[in-house]
């Protein structure tokens, strides 16, 4: 089993909290956006608390930091961009897997056309790397800064991410003569009121006529080829680390103690 944690830390210093999560959930790969500390500090804390050596993924960190306790023989960097990092899990029962980690710009600064272009670029880069690798066993995880139902996530030339396994297991569909592979987006199952889960991963409420309040900007999308190794019950939006809550008394992500985003955790049976 390989366990992944993704968290946008809102430029806060949260190495202790991240390390508690990594220990509690036996995290193998820690993926962070807007880390407020140095990689060295985060590495030291993870290593000390988990009593196993974590190391940063080689390459160029800009918007996304990746630390793992998997050995370099298991993990290899493949591609870095300003807001995207792709690495390869080399040895798995399914064969090599590509893991793409992204942090899209905020909608405070970009509009819908911009995020659409960004998701199209993400999709293109992943498809082309898959072409070079000769497989489509990929997943994308990160803060996409758009919701699962956003056009940029759903459209064929965007991430083409669908809400059910049944649809995703069709592998792809042909639209206007071109074949487009699917991603499965399990985040759809994490929206709205649930007795034991938060309604989303990010809360934003302004005095506008259209306000959704809760968003699922933090997502993991999986190609159908990875579905045999993914169980939906391993996917969680975390609200506490056993010591402290990440929510304020109103049940909203608390940037004062944690972050304005909630972390997501998921595993692959590999």
């Amino acid at each position: 089993m390989i366990t992944f944690l993704f968290w946008n830390l809102n430029k806060q210093s949260r190495s202790e909290v991240v390390a508690r999560l990594a220990l509690r959930h036996k995290v193998d790969v820690v993926i962070l956006a807007e880390m407020g500390e140095s990689t060295a500090t985060m590495r030291a804390m993870l290593t000390a608390r988990c009593q196993t050596s974590f190391h940063p993924l080689p390459g160029v960190e800009k918007e996304v930091s990746i630390l793992t306790r998997l050995s370099p023989s298991q993990v290899e960097p493949v591609q870095d961009h300003n807001r995207l990092r792709i690495f390869r899990l080399k040895v798995t029962p399914l064969g090599p897997i590509l893991v793409a980690c992204a942090h899209n710009p905020s909608l405070l600064h970009w509009d819908a056309a911009d995020t659409g272009a960004q998701c199209r670029q993400l999709a293109r880069v992943i498809r082309e790397e898959e072409g070079r690798e000769g497989h489509q066993r990929s997943l994308l995880v990160g803060d996409l800064n758009v919701d699962p139902f956003d056009v940029s996530v759903v459209a064929v030339d965007g991430l083409h991410a669908v809400p059910t396994r049944r649809i995703a297991e069709r592998q792809s569909r042909t639209v206007q003569g071109a074949e487009w592979p699917f991603f499965y987006n399990p985040m759809w199952g994490h929206f709205g009121d649930r007795p034991d889960r938060p309604p989303g991963s990010y809360y934003y409420a302004k005095g506008r006529p259209v306000t959704r309040f809760w968003h699922l900007f933090d997502q993991v999308l999986l190609r159908p080829g990875l579905l045999p190794a993914f169980r939906n019950e391993t996917l969680h939006i975390l609200t506490e680390d056993g010591i402290q809550s990440f929510l304020n008394p109103r049940g909203i992500p608390d940037p004062a103690s944690a972050s304005d985003h909630l972390p997501i955790l998921f595993s692959l049976d590999l």
């Binding site: 080689p58 390459g59 160029v60 290899e76 960097p77 493949v78 591609q79 870095d80 961009h81 300003n82 807001r83 293109r124 880069v125 498809r127 082309e128 072409g131 070079r132």
Partner: protein, 133 residues
């Protein structure tokens, strides 16, 4: 029998040209970078098949560092042009797209990118990590 069939191709099959394809200019920069860094950091140009059509060509320019990973690359910028090679659009993350209409302007734009502080920082990082082993 083959000699009885006429040669129907024009005699001036390839017209002389002095226009160097933009992708050739970029590939040359990759080779030069590798020379300058003793092979530690290089650069490659990859076609983007999903954006390439019969009349539009897109190429991504990546820095490479074999010691970090045999297929590792860092995306620096992308170019796109049509059948006539120019104009060329040069796009770079977090920068506006620049369209250049002649080779001299393309050289200027690429020189700007290759020598700017962010590019130099990335090269430094890749070089240092490669040497650290």
């Amino acid at each position: 029998m083959p000699d009885a069939i006429p040669d129907l191709w024009p005699s001036d099959l390839r017209a002389p040209t002095t226009v160097v394809p933009p992708v050739a200019i970029l590939k040359r920069q990759g080779a030069l970078l590798s020379d300058k860094t003793q092979g530690v950091v290089g650069a490659i140009v990859l076609g983007a098949p999903s954006l390439t059509t019969e009349t539009s060509f897109t190429y991504d320019f990546y820095l490479t560092a074999p010691a970090i990973g045999s297929s590792y690359k860092y995306h620096l910028f992308t170019i796109q042009h049509g059948m006539s090679l120019y104009p060329v659009k040069v796009s770079r993350p977090d920068h506006p797209v620049v369209e250049v209409t002649a080779e001299a302007d393309f050289l200027t734009r690429v020189r700007e990118i290759l020598s700017d502080a962010k590019t130099r920082q990335v090269i430094d990082i890749l070089w240092a990590q490669s040497e650290a082993g």
